[in-house]
Symmetry: none
C-alpha cells in the first residue's frame, strides 16, 4: 500500500510509456518539448527522459486543446499558462499607450477616444497624464525629430488630445480652492502642456481660469487684475519668448504671484521675478500646490 502510493505520485514514465498512455508519438513529444517547452522531464543517469503523471496530464490537456481546434503553439501556450491573473497595474499603461499611439497614427479618432475611455474608467486624471498622455507626447516629439512621424500626425494627435483634455477640464473654474490663471506667452502655440498642468492643478483642488495660447502679457494683466488669482502661470518653450516680454512680466510679477513653466531658462524667469516650475506638468502642479500651501 505504502509502496504503490509512492509509485503513483512519483511515477517516472519513460517516453515510450508516456507515448502509449497519451497516444502521442515520442518524436512529437520531443518536438513539443523543444518548440514550446511543454514538458520538462527529469533525466535518468543515462540521459533518458523521465516524466511524471503531471506531465501526462499536461499532454492530455494539450490534446484536448488540439482537438478543439487550436493550433499547436496556442494550445501549448494555454497549457503552460501558470496563473497569469491581473497584471492590470503596470502593463495597462503601456498597453494603453501602445493602443493610443496606434490609433492616432492611423488617424483613427474613435479608437483613440475608446482607449482614453478605457483608461479613464480605471485611473485618475493624474495617472492618465503621467503614464499615458505626457509620455505619448514626448514620444511623438522624438519620432518627429527622427522623421518618423509627419506634421499631419502631430496636428491630428494634438487636436484629439486637446479636445479630450478640455473635456476633462469642464468646470475647472468652479469651487472653493485658490484660483490659478493660465496662459501661453505671445507666440506660443503649444498649449497641451499647459492644459495638462491645469488638469493636474484641478485635481489638487485649485480653480482654473484659462486664457489659451498666444496671449499678450497686457491681456494677461487685465485678466489678473480683474480675477485676483492666487497664482498666474505662463508657459514658454523657448527662453527667447520670455526675454521679449521680460519687462512686462516683471510688472505683472510685482502685482501678482507669477510662475513660469515650460522649457524657459531659469535665468530669464528669475529675472522676471517669477517662480520657476521645473519638470513635467504634473510635477509642476505639485510644486505650485506646495508653494501655495506653505506660502499663505
Amino acid at each position: 500500500m505504502l509502496y504503490s502510493a509512492a509509485v503513483q505520485n512519483d511515477a517516472a514514465l519513460r517516453i515510450g510509456e508516456l507515448s502509449k498512455r497519451s497516444g502521442v508519438s515520442p518524436e512529437l513529444l520531443r518536438a513539443w518539448e523543444r518548440r514550446y517547452g511543454l514538458l520538462r522531464p527529469t533525466r535518468s543517469a543515462g540521459g533518458l527522459r523521465l516524466y511524471s503523471l503531471d506531465d501526462l496530464e499536461r499532454v492530455r490537456e494539450m490534446r484536448r486543446h488540439l482537438a478543439s481546434g487550436l493550433a499547436a503553439a496556442e494550445a501549448a501556450a494555454l497549457v503552460s499558462r501558470p496563473a497569469q491573473v491581473a497584471e492590470a497595474g503596470h502593463g495597462m499603461a503601456d498597453a494603453a499607450r501602445a493602443e493610443l499611439t496606434d490609433a492616432l497614427d492611423s488617424f483613427d479618432e474613435p479608437r483613440a477616444q475608446a482607449a482614453l475611455d478605457e483608461l479613464l474608467s480605471a485611473a485618475t486624471v493624474d495617472t492618465l497624464l503621467t503614464e499615458v498622455v505626457l509620455p505619448y507626447l514626448r514620444e511623438l516629439g522624438d519620432r518627429w525629430e527622427r522623421g518618423e512621424a509627419s506634421v499631419a500626425h502631430e496636428h491630428f494627435a494634438s487636436s484629439v488630445l486637446r479636445g479630450r483634455m478640455l473635456g476633462l477640464a469642464r468646470g475647472w473654474g468652479r469651487g472653493l480652492g485658490p484660483l490659478a490663471l493660465l496662459a501661453c506667452l505671445p507666440g506660443e502655440q503649444h498649449e497641451l502642456g499647459l492644459i495638462a498642468f491645469g488638469l493636474a492643478l484641478r485635481a489638487r483642488g485649485w480653480r482654473v481660469a484659462y486664457l489659451g495660447s498666444d496671449t499678450p502679457v497686457e491681456t494677461l494683466t487685465v485678466a489678473a487684475d480683474s480675477l485676483r488669482p492666487a497664482a498666474v502661470v505662463v508657459t514658454a518653450v523657448t527662453a527667447a519668448r520670455v526675454r521679449t516680454v521680460e519687462a512686462e512680466l516683471r510688472d505683472l510679477a510685482a502685482r501678482h504671484r507669477l510662475a513660469i513653466g515650460g522649457a524657459a531658462t531659469v535665468d530669464g524667469a528669475r529675472a522676471a521675478g517669477a517662480l520657476v516650475l521645473t519638470g513635467d506638468p504634473v510635477a509642476a502642479a505639485d510644486e505650485l500646490t506646495l508653494h501655495q500651501a506653505a506660502g499663505r
Copy 2:
C-alpha cells in the same frame, strides 16, 4: 437641424433594404424624396443613401395615407417631418445668449458651462450653434472693435467655447458618412468657426478628421492622401492667407475635392480651384452637403 440626428444611432439601411421592409420600390422612394422631400437620408462615403428606422416608419405612414385615398403630395405633407421637431421656445435662445455673455464677461466658467448644459438639454447642436454660439462670437467681435471687450475676454471666451465644442466633437470620426478633412491655413489661429463647421457637418452625417489651426498645406496634403476624404475644407479669415499658398492649394485641389470657408475672397479661392463656402458655418455645412449629394 433639418432632420433627426438619430440616423447615426440607428441601423443604417440601404435603399434596397428599405424597399423590402416598406414594400415601396427604390425608384419610388427616390421619387418621393425628390418630389416631396419625404426622406433625407444621409449618404455613405460613396454616395449611397443610408436610411434610419425612423425613415422606415415615415414611409409606412406615407403608405397608410395613400391607402386611405389621399394623393401623394397631400400624403407626404401629412407625414410627420423630422424638421418639425419642436425646439424649445424662441425666447430661450436670447435668454441663453444673454446668460452666456454675462458669464463669460465676468470670467465665470462654471456659469457659462451651466448655461451651455441647460441649452444642450433642450436644443440640438445646430440650434446651439446658430442661435447662441455663433451670434455670441459675432457680438464679441463687434464689441471688441468698439473697444468694449478686452482681448482677455476674447481669449477666455474662446477657450471655454472651444473646449466645450471639442467635447461635443468627440467621436465625430466614427460612422458611415463621407469623410471631411478640416484644417486652418497657415497662420490662421481662429479655429472656432471651423470646429462649429465640423459639428454642423457631423449633424448631417459626415465623419470628420480635424487637424486644427495653423496647418501647413503640405501637412494637409499628406493627411488627405492617406485618408482620401470626400472633401478637404480649409478656412482663412483673410484673403492674403489664401494667396500665399495658392499654388500649393491648386495642387491639392487637383487631387482632392477642396473647399474654402471663412472670409476669404471668392477670387482667391476660385483661383485655387476650390469650392467657395459662403455664410456662417452651419450654412456652409448645408452647402457642402448639398454639393456632396449632387456632385458625383
Copy 3:
C-alpha cells in the same frame, strides 16, 4: 476594451479555426478586417493572426446583422458600437437616461459604461448626476414600488453605478479645499446618494473623506477628531435612524460642524444640533458650499 488585454485571457484562435467556428471564410474575415476594421487580431511572432473569443462574438454579431438585411459596411459599423448617446438630437439627457435604463435593465454592463462614457465627455459631473443618474435612481425606485423592476435589477444597477461613481471619486481626498467627512448612519445601506453628494462637493472644490455605509457614530467621531474636517455630513433615509443616535450626534455636533442629508426629518436633525441639507445631493452640495463660503 483594449484588445491586447483580452487576448491574454482568451484562447487564441487562428484564422482557420475562427472561420470554422463562425462560418465565415478566411478571405472574407481578412477583407472585413481590411475594409471595416471589424477585428483587430494580435499577431504571432511569425505574423499569423490570433483571435480571441470576443472576436468570435463580434463576427457572429456581424453575421446576425447581415442576416437581418444590413449591408456589410453598415453591419460592421454597428458591431459592438453601442448607441451614440451624445448625438441624439433633442434632450440629450433624456436620450442618455433612456440608453442607460435600457442597458441596465438588460444587465448589459458594458453598454451602460459606454453610455456613461459618452455622457461624461459632453457634460459635467454635475449634469450627469442631476440629469441622468439621480433621475434614473428615482425612476428605478418608482418602478420597483410598482413591481416593474426586480431586486436583481436594483442590485445590478446599484453596483454598476456605485463602481462608476467611485471611479470618478478617485483622488477626491487630495488638494487644497476644505475637507468634508462623509458617512451613512448605522443601519443605513444606501450609499449612492452619499457618493453623488461627495462628487458634487468635489466638483465644488472640496476634499472628501468617505467612510461608507453603516458607520457607527463613535467611528465617525474618532475620524473627525483626527481629520478635523470643515464639515461632517451624514445621511439617513429614515428619521428613526437619526433618533437612535441623537445623543451621540449632539456630542459630535458640539465638536464639529455637522450636517445631515437624506430624508431624515428636520426635527430630529435640528435636535441633534446639525445643519439640515434638503433636496437632492447636488442641491445639498451647493447648500453646504454656500454655508462654508459664508461661515468662515
